[in-house]
Amino acid sequence: MLKKLLINGFKSFAYKTVIDFSNGINIIVGPNGCGKSNIIDAIRWVLGEQGTKMLRASSGTDVIFGGSDAAPPASYAEVSIIIDNSAKILNVDFDDVVVTRKLFRSGESYFYINKREVRLKDIHNLFFDTGLGKGSYSIIQQGQIDAILSSNPAERRAIFEEAA
């Protein structure tokens, strides 16, 4: 299970935010445009998502807090996720796995697994075939329901292909 999420400087999270999730069903509510889907984007991003379309960004550094009337732009985006690994779903020897991703405006990018610096592909390997890697159906974004129903056969196919 996902135990904890730390978001700092990622999209509309100008300042450090910590969310402690619980087992079972976690409900997130709030007005339009206030950052709910951005939480999903943060999780995707820290799990290694690169696709700008999936992250609703037009370039990599778009995900760094760009400023608003109430705060200046951030110089980096950082997300950490703590996953309970007591069932050893992830192939590492820790009961709690902490994955961190950090991106600076310069494009400099850092990845950590339990404080050890790694490369993006190590993040991808960690989650490969766990149901959380690429092609998992465990993250259903706003509008993805329509992709399945899409009259565009390629779009619909993609959903089934990813599952294979």
């Binding site: 299970m1 996902l2 509309s12 999270f13 100008a14 300042y15 935010t17 969310i19 999730f21 619980s22 087992n23 079972g24 069903i25 976690n26 409900i27 997130i28 509510v29 709030g30 007005p31 445009g33 206030c34 950052g35 709910k36 889907s37 951005n38 939480i39 999903i40 999780i43 400023g67 608003s68 009337d69 109430a70 705060a71 996953i83 069932a87 779903i89 075939d129 766990t130 149901g131 959380l132 998992s136 159906y137 465990s138 993250i139 259903i140 974004q141 706003q142 993805q144 329901i145 329509d146 399945i148 129903l149 056969p153 619909r156 196919r157 959903i159 089934f160 292909e161 599952a163 294979a164």
Partner: protein, 162 residues
């Protein structure tokens, strides 16, 4: 490659029988690879028969019926690779009260073995949580998140859901 796709497709089809029955309480849903000679490029056809009605291509069904069919397929795919957690973002937007309740039943089925994180504007979906998080933007452009107890559900997040 092609065999993997076929094997996965067959399994999804089998799971779909279960998820569709849970979602619609009856009826059937058929997914077909349109061109069996060109499996890797073929389109996929989805036809369904809600209880009491006739079998139709999903393009001819209602908005809510289409959502429930998509959710049945998504859960059928999900059953293939059970994940430690599942994130759903406003998947209940097109559903009426009765369908929201069936959707929640499907979620509760899976939640015995999977943690769910669900974003919703729907009052009924929201009531079925174990924990609750409110997301707001009091300072323009800056997100704040706070957790709260169900007794605050009605007032605290009244502005976010209806």
């Amino acid at each position: 490659m092609r065999d993997e796709f076929l094997k996965s497709f067959e399994q999804i089809r089998k799971n779909l029988e279960y998820t569709f029955k849970r979602a619609f309480g009856g009826g059937e849903c058929i997914i077909e690879i349109q061109d069996r000679n060109d499996i890797l490029n073929s389109g996929i056809e989805i036809i369904a028969r809600p209880p009491g009605k006739k079998l139709k291509n999903i393009n001819l069904l209602s908005g809510g019926e289409r959502s429930m069919i998509a959710l049945s397929i998504i859960f059928a795919i999900f059953m293939r690779k059970i994940s430690p957690f599942c994130l759903l973002d406003e998947v209940d937007a097109a559903l009426d009260e009765a369908n929201v309740k069936r959707f929640i039943t499907l979620v509760e089925d899976f939640s015995k073995n999977t943690q769910f994180i669900i974003i919703t504007h729907n009052r009924i979906t929201a009531q079925h949580g174990d924990v609750f998080f409110g997301v707001t933007m009091q300072d323009p452009g800056i997100t704040k998140v706070f957790s709260f107890k169900p007794d605050y559900l009605e007032d605290t997040i009244k502005e976010g859901i209806y």
